[in-house]
Symmetry: C2
């Protein structure tokens, strides 16, 4: 939540003047190092130390308070005890500041008293319409030479570059800056968001999206400030630049026990839920900090891969095979080369060279062979990019190979990545290549992973952008069902009501009649056609099979009568206090695949749709996927395709394929229901039967739970 | 295949004298750099250049031929044209050499003519009982200061250390040596095995096992010279030291089309087969070269983790959470600390410190807090090892933390690993820690992965070592079945014969009778008890369902008669030329889980047993595991437990657990059959029904394929 300001957040990243409240000269104090860093990083604005205890700080005239400043500071950096922060923010606001970075700790992270102080800080910032970073944070920097802002207490800064980093952990950010400095990784901007009382990762995504110096955005988060806003912000940003994220931290224990399948899946699969949200937003989740920076490197060059076709060019078989394996794992393709291209390549290479893909030129080649082969490969139109491996030989130096690669690079717009095997990251050759736009990696796998990440980003950009479909629904019927439930105070809808709600949203159920005697049941079955299913209908019985309340495959009137009598006896014995509305006779759905489609409402993410193949696959193998509603057709399609058991729907062993199109539409309709009916807190269609292609889907059982009615008016 | 010598291969690693045949002074020649390297690495024996063209090489008196040498060279290094190598090896043998390293290329790798040359080289080496490395290799080195052997053409050598490396790719080996030199990774020995005409990775495993300077063995292989020998050699070596492997390269196309389920699974799952073999041998397979060296580093220290319980000690929350996530992924445990230990830790830490696990001391602590907390944690008996994270703060240098960690290290035998976040691998602090036995990593995840690898190795060492069980079998019956099949020239056994063979090995089938008429069928069913299954019995019909040759669930005599008549008609129509021995009436097996147990014979690995849950799980989800026969009980147990669908056997949704013990025994019996009956080339039990615990397993369908009879006597 930003408190004031424009989406660019210029007051944080490009302030004309900065007041450091709590600047100091005492060694070892944050206020000392922060002010010194601000000066030494070459700040292009005016830096004002504010502290009544000093006449000057780091040789700069110090002001006793904010009122004494000769001009309004655009940004305030606050390093005073927690109890004084709210007052300081207030003074900053009165002095005309547009933003504040609160380094001080001692707020929400230390308990209730701190949380109260934090609320006060937020209130003051809001009053003055100021952007607020922190509290309990490590600061902000911007390497733009026109700005030169280092408002952190890290003395060592990485070089200027294209990578922006947003960290929920200050210490992790500090470590990363030091790492970036020692490994010479170029950063554009950095923000430690601390407790996120004001600016959060969503605001920063939007801001960094508009920063022309930032080519790739890295996030470290332990939670999302607002999962739903994240999806919206990130989906917009990834249209323009890639976002890579590390999401750490597991589910906190003690979350409310889940009441339905979908609920328990959403709990046990919480980490998978983040995966789904990231996938839906086009954000790439990475598993480790090492991967994060290796992938950031390739994106920071601005290289783009137009397709998945890769050529591997090497002077040695082994590393080529390692790269090829990694390429296949990354979903890249190694197309066989055309006869013409092979002839062209072979003409100049040693006779023992293997002119396939990988192209193994063998150890006898020189730098010129690299140059010529690369130009031939990338000029052929047969591949979208190239990976070059050079292993040390007696006859060729890394230096000469590097120059050859750059000559080829100048002749093409397609990306080239390199592995100068055996050379350190910081060697002159590697630095030389990277400075000229050829990301270079220690090991072949790392280079290929970088390309894989480029290819995934390109696939995201190239996806069809279909709008969310809005299906015509029977709103009156849906409202009637929900109103009746609200009036009767029901939280779990009776099955026929659940069915009515879903039918209003276009879901199809088998023909059904409510009956109250064995004779009525047999008559209804005759009308519906055999075989039929018989089920108890009771608002008090949620899991019908547990009380003997379901009988399937009833093939004739005698079976229906017998089943009715047996069921009535069993149910009344097992659930003597349940109100029984009667029994449902339903047409039994002919063959198909059972799937589960459900809705769960999450405080952070809002409505979530879950999908999986029914029974064992969902319950035992946990083979499910999640997406946030509303859902575009492609998301629903991906959702269906991404379960491991998807081949069962696609059709195996001579079976006809299932009606995946109808399933996708059913998921979209459920998603629409979830968005339009916020009072539905949980929903399970389990099973939904997916019939062979062209025959649609039929819901067999529906369970709908309503949220407890929200109190109207403010709470006392 | 070693040609002569003792298992230690001293002639390769510790030769008293080395003749370099093809040594040279011409710049850029392999013979030039190799001889120069041999001298400059400080060889403690005598190095003799041999080349008629030079009077001296690198200032050392050169000999025109091997006969002129003043003593027998223990090792010959050969760098002459391929056509002259066999003669050179012969001369070396005559001169008394015990080993030869053939650097020269132009052998099997270039086609048939080269393969013929290679065979000749092998014949000469065998004649003289010489160990042979190569041809087409990069050489051998041993950093032992008593030896100082660098018989490679790599000038840059890594420092002496404990890591041995065996590479099937010379170039990859060369890259690794250069990498090791630039990153200061200590190696003990290195061998490039080239074409493996002589010494292969199996010989080297055995040799390196006996090298006291080697603590961990790394392998890079694209194939295994002999998969079965590998399993045996590696299983022995991993009793003493860890083995880490990179296996690259995918299945070569054009392998013979597989004929059975098991066969096709073994083909499509070839990479998974390697996984299984490595698991069975206690070898850890790693995915990337980066991982390989990060894991090697921790093993090279000789540290051991006695159990999976880890403490994480950090001065910052974020990196601690990242480490905790990684620990859980690695299967490590983060036990909650006892109240006593928490009180002890909290006593000296800042009040805001989070004394849980991870222990987040917060940014205000100093080096002394690290020392004291580490000693308390590791002295408590509550954890098996510790991971220390230090992120940069204004108040504490990496140097002081490093010294504090070493003081704690001196007070405990438990492993400590560190992440000095933000410091480069090559910083003084990191080097200092590593030199004193604290492996230190750039990122928290990497440190934890190292510990995970230690824990997996410890679990391997601690496993129960149960011998392969040998079950009493009815050998006479098995032999009779196989003899009859051999006499009749059958390659696919008729089902009753397959059943007989498996019954001889103690597998149980349902009661069954062979009948020839509908009346006989009904009578047999009466004796066996209803329901029954009816199946066609024909040596010519392998997939019975395809011709309508299976009917199940026959509940009374009328159904049996009807099914018989229908089946007889359908089968004769569908397979008019098939010989029909009659029809089998079988008791229908009551409820249980269907699994597949099979055998496949592989030219490289010998008999392989495959296991998976039947139907969809095997055929669509490819959820299968492999093990080489013979199999220890624990391997069979792991095999069952490692399929994703295992929870279905363990018992879910209130179902009773299946009889896993009986299933494990059945797998062991099939394994025994595979070993004792080499004429069985493929076997499928599909399905085998696993009944509830205590009720055993019953095979329903068996398919056995025999190998074509091997020709006796040499081929013409």
């Amino acid at each position: 939540m930003v408190v004031g300001s424009s989406p660019e957040l210029h007051e944080l990243f490009r302030p004309a003047s900065v007041a450091v409240v709590g600047a100091s000269n005492r060694p070892g104090r944050v206020g000392t190092s922060l002010f010194r860093n601000l000066l030494s990083a070459g700040f292009q604005g005016v830096a004002y130390p504010v502290n009544p205890s000093w006449k000057s700080v780091s040789g700069v005239r110090c002001y006793p308070d904010l009122r004494s400043l000769p001009e309004a500071p655009e940004l305030g950096v606050v390093i005073v005890p927690a109890a004084k922060v709210a007052a300081t923010v207030d003074e900053l606001g009165r002095a005309g500041a547009k933003g504040a970075v609160i380094i001080s700790a001692g707020f929400r992270e230390v308990g209730d008293a701190g949380a109260a102080l934090e609320a006060e800080v937020v209130a003051r910032a809001r009053e003055h319409r100021m952007s607020l970073v922190g509290p309990n944070c490590f600061g902000v920097f911007n390497t733009d030479p026109e700005v030169g802002l280092n408002a952190t207490f890290s003395e060592l800064l990485p070089p200027a570059g294209n990578i922006a980093f947003v960290s929920q952990s200050g210490a992790l950010g500090a470590g990363i800056l030091k790492y970036g400095a020692s490994e010479r990784i170029g950063f554009s901007r950095f923000v430690s968001v601390g407790n996120r009382a004001g600016v959060d990762e969503n605001d920063l995504l939007t801001s960094l999206d508009r920063d022309p110096r930032t080519r790739v955005i890295l996030l470290y988060v332990e939670s999302l400030a607002n999962g739903r806003q994240f999806l919206e912000a990130a989906r917009e940003v990834t249209e323009h630049k890639p976002v890579l994220v590390i999401k750490s931290g597991r589910t906190s224990a003690g979350e409310r026990a889940a009441k339905s399948h979908t609920g328990s899946l959403a709990q046990s699969g919480r980490d998978q839920l983040f995966d789904s949200v990231f996938a839906q937003a086009g954000v790439q989740r990475v598993d480790s900090l090492g991967d994060l920076f290796r992938l950031a490197k390739i994106f920071s060059t601005g290289l783009a891969l137009d397709g998945p076709r890769l050529a591997i060019l090497t002077n040695s078989g082994g590393p080529g095979i390692v790269a090829a394996d990694a390429a296949i794992r990354q979903g890249l393709e190694l197309p066989p080369l055309s006869a013409g291209l092979r002839t062209q390549l072979a003409g100049e290479l040693p006779s023992i060279a293997a002119v396939a893909n990988p192209v193994d030129m063998t150890a006898d080649v020189g730098a010129e062979d690299y140059r010529r082969s690369l130009i031939a490969l990338l000029g052929s139109g047969e591949v979208d990019g190239a990976m070059v491996i050079s292993t040390p030989t007696g006859t060729m130096t890394g230096d000469r190979v590097a120059r050859a690669i750059l000559e080829a690079r100048a002749a093409t717009s397609k990306p080239i990545v390199a592995c100068l095997f055996g050379l350190s990251d910081l060697s002159a050759e590697v630095t030389f290549l990277e400075q000229h736009g050829v990301p270079t990696y220690t090991f072949p796998e790392e280079a290929v992973e970088g390309l894989g990440s480029l290819a995934r980003y390109r696939a995201w950009l190239n996806r069809p952008r279909l709008p969310v479909r809005s299906f015509p629904v029977d709103a009156a019927k849906a409202e009637a069902v929900l109103r009746r439930a609200a009036e009767s105070g029901q939280s779990v809808l009776p099955e026929y009501a659940a069915r009515g709600l879903l039918e209003a949203y276009g879901l199809r159920f088998p023909g059904s009649e409510l009956v109250r005697s064995a004779e009525e049941a047999a008559a209804a079955a005759g009308r519906l056609g055999y075989p039929v299913v018989l089920k108890v209908a009771s608002p008090d019985i949620s899991h019908k099979t547990d009380v003997g309340g379901v009988a399937v495959g009833l093939a004739d009137a005698a079976s229906v009568r017998a089943a009715f009598q047996r069921m009535d006896r069993q149910v009344r014995a097992a659930a003597p206090t349940a109100r029984i509305d009667g029994y449902e006779v339903e047409s039994q759905v002919p063959g198909g695949k059972e799937v589960l489609v459900g809705v769960q409402r999450d405080p952070n993410f809002g409505p979530i749709v879950v999908f999986g193949l029914g029974g064992i696959y969902v319950e035992v193998l946990k083979d499910v996927t999640f997406r946030l509603a509303p859902m575009r057709p492609l998301s629903a399609q991906h959702m269906v395709e991404s379960v491991r058991a998807y081949p069962l729907l696609a059709g195996v062993r001579g079976e006809p394929p299932s009606d995946v199109a109808a399933l996708v539409e059913a998921i979209e309709r459920v998603s629409q229901l979830a968005v339009e009916r916020p009072e539905v807190s949980e929903l399970d269609l389990n099973p939904l039967i997916v019939r062979p292609a062209g025959q649609g889907v039929v819901a067999v059982d529906a369970r709908v739970v309503l949220a407890p009615p929200s109190r109207s008016g403010p709470s006392p």
